[in-house]
């Protein structure tokens, strides 16, 4: 068992690389269509630092050579693609000469950590609650309380982040306002540090969980209603199986499959939403990096961060696609 059909696998790999390629190309083309000259921005920044800059024409040419924008477009494009393959996005202009990849390497673990926790938790909670909304044997409370909570689900995480931050950090002062860990603790594998990370990460994670679980719950509810009407559920009942067993092995097991596909499609939106939450909480992740770069007009960083996030999305989708045949035998046998 467990062999994935090669046509399926081939298809996914093509999609993965095509996604990465298209994203990379868009990120490269867009700024080149813009009338803004990055060399002039750099010059402007130097001028702001030094007061005045003499023989600006020479410096501009020099900067252009340094940024590589004096070469023909295809050379630039090829160099760019080659750089990207090696995770080389150039040097940050705001924090010159730190490489963009170093900045991203610092921020990425925070974003990945927060994402794994918040997105997976919501997926599980949401689907379980959605299933319970349909199940005949659920407690009454579930059937009344959850639909009411559904109203929250339409709100994007950024708004819930604002509200939670105001209530718990600004008003009640239960949680810190910003950052991913306390200023007084040294990063490292110490208990203090872990504690601080959890303490700081709680609100950002919560603000994502509160508003996204409902999306899954709603989807699951619709699917469960479909599965409830399926002949195999009827037969399972006629077999005298225990209700809980039917719920897990017959209903949820089948209804979850389209949800996993939906997860793959939704992952981009979720990561984008999380980036915004990070920005609100000034969490030390990609969101903050991106926001700071936007403020500083630090173009290489904006490009790098965008690309890495899209890369994360594409790989997450790819992973989900790889897992899917393992849980749906119909795909595994190439139907």
């Amino acid at each position: 068992m467990g062999r994935i059909p090669s046509s399926y696998l081939g298809n996914r790999i093509v999609t993965l690389f095509l996604t990465i390629f298209i994203a990379a190309t868009l990120i490269w083309i867009i700024p080149r269509l813009s009338p803004v000259d990055p060399a002039e921005i750099a010059l402007g920044r130097m001028a702001a630092g030094a007061g005045t800059v003499g023989n600006s024409e020479d410096i501009l040419a020099q900067l252009r050579a340094q940024l590589g924008i004096d070469q023909p477009w295809f050379v630039q494009y090829a160099k760019y693609l080659w750089g990207i393959v090696q995770f080389d996005f150039g040097l940050s202009t705001a924090n010159f000469p730190t490489p963009v990849s170093a900045l991203i390497a610092n921020a990425l673990p925070w974003t990945l950590g927060l994402m794994l926790i918040s997105i997976t938790i919501t997926f599980f909670i949401g689907n379980l609650l959605g299933a319970l909304m349909v199940w005949d044997h659920s407690p009454k409370l579930v059937k009344v309380a959850i639909p009411a909570a559904m109203v929250l689900t339409s709100i994007p995480p950024i708004l819930s982040a604002l509200l939670l931050m105001w209530i718990f950090s600004a008003k009640l002062r239960l949680f810190p306002l910003t950052g991913a860990y306390g200023l007084t603790v040294e990063p490292g594998w110490t208990w203090d540090f872990v504690q601080s990370v959890l303490y700081h990460g709680f609100l950002p994670a919560l603000s994502i969980v509160v508003v996204t679980f409902g999306f899954w719950a709603l989807g699951m509810r619709g699917l469960m209603i479909g599965v409830q009407g399926e002949d195999y559920t009827t037969l399972a009942k006629a077999k005298g199986l225990r209700p809980r067993y039917i719920l897990y092995k017959y209903m949820i097991r089948n209804a979850i499959l389209p949800q996993i596909t939906a997860f793959a499609l939704k992952i981009g939106m979720l990561i984008a939403g999380q980036v915004l939450v990070e920005r609100i909480f000034a969490y030390n992740g990609m969101g903050k990096l991106l926001y700071d770069a936007i403020l500083d007009q630090d173009f290489p960083v904006i490009q790098g961060v965008s690309f890495v996030i899209i890369l994360m999305t594409a790989f997450s989708v790819f992973l989900v696609d790889l897992i899917y045949p393992l849980i749906d035998p119909r795909i595994r046998h190439g139907r």
């Binding site: 867009i30 689900t153 604002l162 105001w166 965008s306 996030i309």
Partner: protein, 311 residues
């Protein structure tokens, strides 16, 4: 109680109220969720129109009012009470929040609607082309939409706006629309593929119907609930994306939008200074907008899938 246990459900109560509730299901469009959702959205539109008529719109300009005044009945940290001239308070740049919201809320809705309309049109076109033409065209469209659906629009738009600077509302809507065609394309393609084999489409072909007739007279009417649902979902996604951009400080710089108001509030430390009305009011309005859209969508789901009409 024996009736409770008797096969199937318990003996139902057949009171007049219960029958009225059941009757509601006879006409799927008379759906309370749909009504409430539409009411909320229309409420925001009405606020935009009435506000422009009855309120002084010059108050959106910087310095047209005292700074950081609280709404009526509240006091700010400096102990100033709210004033009737600025019933919802003012922001840190001396602008009246009521005026900001009256202009900003319809703007956010406009971006969502426009982006979604453009996205839908592209989606309908591509979906029908893929489903009807098949072969190479279908493969290209299918792979392209599979690829594009995984790219989060926010990131590409961040790159775009960071490079181009200020954009107009319409341009932002068009940019967002470039990422809103994938899901309608996929939906319509799937529906067209299954409908093509359906009895009534074959009957229409037997009746000598043209491709256009089959697409728009036979298939389209049956697609309406799905299209509408997809449209509303896209409006939500577009607004979320637009607000995301605005909160990052991108998007239109000179036109008030709800996201832009929130951005300015956060940037000026409104959270710490307890200027809750500044970011809170646009947040609540956005929440109302999203809840309205969600209710419409839930209602539409129930219209197209009667089995959902339980809750």
């Amino acid at each position: 109680m024996t009736t409770q246990n008797a096969a199937g459900a318990a003996k139902p109560d057949l009171s007049a109220r219960q029958i009225r509730r059941m009757k509601r299901f006879d006409n799927p469009w008379r759906n309370p969720k749909l009504t409430w959702g539409a009411a909320l959205i229309l409420g925001i539109v009405a606020m935009g129109i009435l506000g422009r008529i009855f309120w002084n719109m010059d108050l959106v300009f910087t310095g047209s009012a005292p700074l950081k005044l609280p709404p009526l009945g509240f006091e700010n940290l400096r102990g100033q009470p709210g004033q009737t001239d600025f019933p919802l308070g003012t922001d840190g740049a001396g602008r009246d929040l009521l005026a900001l919201i009256v202009i900003g809320a319809p703007n956010s809705l406009f971006v969502g609607l426009l982006a979604s309309i453009i996205g839908m049109s592209i989606g309908i076109f591509l979906g029908f082309s893929a489903g009807f033409l098949g072969g190479r065209t279908d493969d290209t469209i299918r792979i392209l939409s599979d690829v594009m659906i995984t790219i989060p629009p926010l990131l590409i738009l961040v790159v775009f706006q960071a490079a181009f600077g200020d954009v107009s509302l319409t341009l932002m809507a068009i940019l967002i629309a470039a990422f809103m065609w994938q899901s309608p394309t996929r939906l319509i393609r799937a529906q067209v593929l299954s409908m093509r084999e359906s009895g009534y489409v074959q009957m229409a072909r037997l009746s000598g119907a043209s491709t256009m007739h089959i697409m728009f007279r036979e298939m389209m009417p049956n697609l309406v609930p799905y299209l509408f649902g997809s449209f509303i979902a896209n409006v939500t996604t577009s607004i979320v994306t637009a607000v995301g951009l605005e909160v990052l400080g991108l998007g239109p710089q000179r036109i008030p939008t709800l996201g832009r108001i929130i951005y300015e509030a956060i940037n000026s430390g409104a959270l710490i200074q307890n200027l809750w009305w500044w970011w809170g009011l646009p947040t609540i309005l956005l929440a109302v907008m999203f809840i309205g859209l969600l209710l419409i969508n839930l209602g539409l789901d129930e219209v197209s899938n009667p089995r959902l009409r339980k809750l």
